[in-house]
């Protein structure tokens, strides 16, 4: 058990799984010699060789399409898309093949594939290195979408994703890659997919969040002494509806925080689930604190990203309601 950051945790987890399971191959742009532009696949090429760690040509459709074929025929590919902003050339493969192969073949084929990709802002990356596109995937039945908020969950979710026989979109909040360290057991362990984490118990307000916003939410409630129930969703499809409804019913006041744009962001579904199933418990409007409905700007990203002030304003609004 050591204190490691998320990059280290992911790197070690992949390493450990590869050592155990020969079916695992890693592929993507710069994942080999370079060890990935964020170093998540560092040293794997040296250890496992070119047959298992593939530096690919620059074509995301090709990476994902090839990985799909591998997965259908006995391998367990871990495909990396260098930035989530660059996954869209492969969107047809994701929506029309990966998400539908099991279904369309009546379960005779399946696609046990993990697509890892860093997402979100906070690195001054502008329009094309900062997007949070989770809603595009979470709207797509057939996919499973997860995002860890810390080095521990990163390992546990990756191990769970690895054990699934269906495709998993594994979204890594790049801003948190090296933001903090945590104790992560050396052994393989699972964090259950579909299950949210309760990060803090409280009675006055529920804050539902995930991924990159988790540390910001936690520091906001801690600094301001908010008596909040804080939920880290961890899985975005399927969402943990029980955890969402339980906290909404408990406090009656819900604030949702995410970095993606508001309109049809994941928060819309959280809100709709509550409005559909726990309406009588609500004591205040369900408020969303999110990225804005604009392309991610290069200048002023600190205004774009939800911060403690915006979160606190929303909390106060529902508390005073």
């Amino acid at each position: 058990m050591t204190q490691i950051n998320m990059v280290q945790s992911l790197n070690r987890s992949i390493d450990q799984l590869m050592a155990e399971d020969e079916r695992i191959v890693v592929l993507g742009e710069d994942v080999g010699r370079d060890g990935g532009v964020f170093r998540v696949t560092d040293n794997l090429l040296n250890k496992y060789g070119e047959e298992r760690v593939l530096d690919t040509p620059l074509n995301e459709l090709a990476i994902i399409g090839m990985a799909t074929g591998m997965a259908m025929y006995g391998l367990k590919p871990f495909a990396e898309i260098q930035f989530q902003d660059y996954i869209f050339p492969a969107f047809d493969q994701i929506v029309n093949n990966i998400a539908k192969v099991r279904y369309r073949t009546g379960g005779r084929f399946n696609v046990p594939l993990i697509i890892r990709t860093p997402y979100g802002g906070g690195v001054r990356g502008g329009l094309y290195h900062s997007q949070s596109g989770e809603a595009y995937f979470a709207h797509t039945a057939g996919l499973t979408v997860v995002t860890p908020s810390n080095p521990y969950d990163a390992k546990g979710l990756l191990v769970s994703a690895y054990r699934m026989n269906d495709p998993v979109i594994f979204l890594e909040p790049k801003r948190l890659y090296r933001a903090n360290k945590k104790e992560v057991p050396d052994d393989l362990f699972e964090v259950e997919i579909g299950k949210a984490a309760k990060l803090k118990e409280g009675d006055d307000v529920s804050i539902i969040t995930y991924g990159s916003m988790v540390p910001t939410v936690m520091s906001t409630v801690e600094k301001n002494g908010v008596n909040a129930d804080v939920i880290d969703l961890r899985t975005l499809l399927p969402m943990d509806v029980s955890a969402i409804l339980a906290t909404a019913k408990k406090t009656g006041r819900v604030v949702i925080v995410h970095e993606a744009p508001r309109t049809l962001g994941v928060g819309a579904e959280i809100s709709a689930l509550i409005a559909e199933r726990a309406i009588d418990s609500l004591l205040a409007p369900i408020v969303r604190v999110t990225g804005y409905d604009i392309p991610f700007p290069y200048s002023h990203e600190e205004f774009y990203l939800p911060d403690e002030k915006r979160i606190m304003t929303a909390i106060n609004r529902v508390l005073k309601y």
């Binding site: 074509n59 399409g65 090839m66 997965a71 093949n97 369309r104 084929f109």
Partner: protein, 338 residues
């Protein structure tokens, strides 16, 4: 005795028989479609010879990623007519549980992968499958078919690019039938399709896909190349779509037919004439092959039509290995409303 080259009389007769079966089946499906028995169809008429040649040369362990127009290929590969009908009827015996439109087959046991509608989108999968076969030291190569239109897709580019860079044994076969719905090949591309491999260092070859003998000879070279481990190969088989693009299409809007069913240049007729000339068959045996095909095809449809459809609530299966709470809840909605 060999009819031509290595082709024995028996092989020729079998090929001819399957071509006739495919043509007869195709006609039958169209009429069943008109009667509302089958929902839709993409006719394979005119493309039988190249498809049969592929199946003749492919080994059992070779993995085929076909496309939606490969009916004759499936029959020659030995897929039972009953299973084909089950898919077309999407009855409860359909291996895919009625999930796909007619002609979107998947026959795992025959190493025939899975057909989808988005044109070309199976192509990148073929290189992954080839990678997997090499990695796991499985015998066999990967063979894939697609139309002339598909060569314009990004998937085609992606697949040839990966096959080349990773030196994968994929035999790409374009069934160039002259049309992508209403768009003639001349508007699809300004170059010969078999030359498109040049962009990736993949050799190519054109064959007369309407002639069984020429198809076999041309394909043999391509199969040998890929089997030898040298990498991918691109074949362009010139053929012709005799019918409409699909049962929803009206080709009169955009073309004058160049080959029609039973005309002298119909590929089946060409093989028939050759076999008659070579004395491999006489007109009595031709008659009997045709009659047998018709009987089998009529009878089997009759038989398969009695198989009931799938249960409505089965639409919630196979989205995931284990349905999530969402599918379970939605399934209950259907069940409750019964």
């Amino acid at each position: 005795m060999a009819m031509v080259g290595n082709l024995s009389n028996e092989q020729a007769i079998l090929a001819y028989t399957n071509a006739v079966r495919a043509r007869t089946l195709d006609m039958k499906i169209i009429s069943a479609q008109r009667q509302g028995i089958i929902g839709f169809h993409v006719p394979s008429q005119g493309q039988e010879m190249i498809q049969i040649a592929i199946s003749m040369l492919a080994d059992k362990e070779d993995l085929i990623f076909g496309y939606y127009r490969d009916l004759a290929m499936l029959l020659q590969r030995g897929v039972p007519l009953s299973l084909i009908y089950d898919q077309l009827l999407s009855n409860s015996n359909d291996l895919q549980k009625g999930r796909q439109m007619p002609d979107h087959f998947s026959f795992k046991e025959f190493n025939f992968s899975t057909v989808q509608s988005p044109v070309g989108s199976h192509l990148p999968l073929t290189v992954g499958a080839a990678y997997s076969m090499r990695y796991t030291k499985k015998k066999g190569i990967v063979i894939t078919t697609f139309g002339d239109g598909a060569t314009s897709t990004s998937d085609f580019h992606a697949a040839l690019s990966m096959a080349s860079v990773f030196n994968l044994g994929v035999l790409f076969i374009c069934e160039n039938n002259g049309w992508a719905i209403s768009v003639p090949t001349s508007k699809q591309t300004k170059t010969d399709i078999y030359k498109k491999g040049a962009a990736y260092g993949i050799p190519g070859k054109r064959v007369d896909g309407n002639d069984l003998i020429a198809s076999l000879a041309g394909l043999q070279e391509a199969f040998d190349y890929v089997r030898s481990g040298k990498g991918a190969y691109l074949v362009e088989a010139l053929t012709y779509r005799i019918g409409p693009h699909s049962t929803s299409d009206d080709p009169k809007k955009y073309r004058v037919d160049e080959i029609t069913d039973g005309s002298e240049n119909d590929p089946i007729r060409r093989l028939e004439n050759l076999m008659l000339k070579m004395g491999v068959v006489d007109s009595a045996s031709i008659q009997s092959i045709r009659a047998q095909a018709k009987e089998e095809i009529d009878k089997t449809l009759e038989e398969r039509m009695s198989i009931p459809p799938t249960e409505p609530s089965s639409i919630f299966d196979d989205v995931y290995e284990k349905p999530s709470w969402i599918q379970e809840e939605e399934r209950r909605e259907i069940n409750d409303s019964d």
